[in-house]
Amino acid sequence: MFPLYLFLSSFGAWSRGPHTNRIASILLPNAPLTGQSATTVFVIDWEMCQIGNRALDLGQMIAELYETKLFKKVECGLWIVEGFLEGYGALSDEMAFRTAIHVGVHLVCWGSRVPGWGSQQQIEAVVTVGRDLIVQGWKKNKAWFEGDCLRCLFGR
């Protein structure tokens, strides 16, 4: 049972006035994650809720986690991705390719624009990874994904 505090959230962050920062959609306690004690994670920030391809939800989360590995060498980012896909359940090849494409799109668009995250060389490497995910996902080249970090999209 959590104590009840006032949590003020602005309405319509996307549709009102100048908007210069975003609030994360996943919140968790500022404490070590050991698996030995209960941890509650909140999913917030529902302003963009819409009818759409589920691959967009999958792809955006995977891309964000993958970025921590690509830019900051945070290995557990990929472990979370693998657990994420295991929890979501097996994807059809169609959904897996579409998800890979959206991961790639996110890396190209947003991975190249995160301020202060990496050198120009790192940014170009991330854009290259993004491009490859888009192109190989578009070509439905499953064999290519078997050698990629995101082979877990296909349950590998």
Binding site: L27, N30, A38, I44, E47, M48, N53
Partner: protein, 187 residues
Amino acid sequence: MPVQHFERTILQALTGLPPYTGDNITVRTPRLLHVDRETNTQVLTDLPNSLDLKTFLLSEVSHGVSESAARALGRGLGTWLRSFHDWAAATEQAEHSAVFDRNGSMKDLKFYVNYTMLIDTIPNFPQILGESHDVLKEVRDLAAAELKEPGESEGYGIIHGDFWTGKYVSAVLVLVQLWSLESRASY
């Protein structure tokens, strides 16, 4: 229909979605306790001393996270997301689908900041993206066609729309928002 109405609608509806609990991880949505329309304020349950997942992963607090704990967190997020997608597709959620089918500005915005920006990014990295120009445009066109896809199609339905880990500042978002406001004003 104001964006805040959509958010309020989904938060109220999500009280019907059971939280996920497994491996000492619980994933849930906050409860909407009160709405003050005059001040445009929502009062939600709070998670004291919390931080977003991206900040968590980049902070010292996450150093030494074991593979099993990381996978358990991922499984929790994935299982919860699947339950949300399935819950949203259930027949009894049809009225909510109708509401969100009218959230056109957010669909357009999401398309713009991903797939239009994809093409706009090509000149920034001509050596890397130039040769794939045709494929990138076809991907953009695929995403554009998806905007018209009905929610009942395979793989489609109510989605969170912004399911990510962290926060950042971007002047691009300001420009996109201004475009969105202008577009809506012209309807």
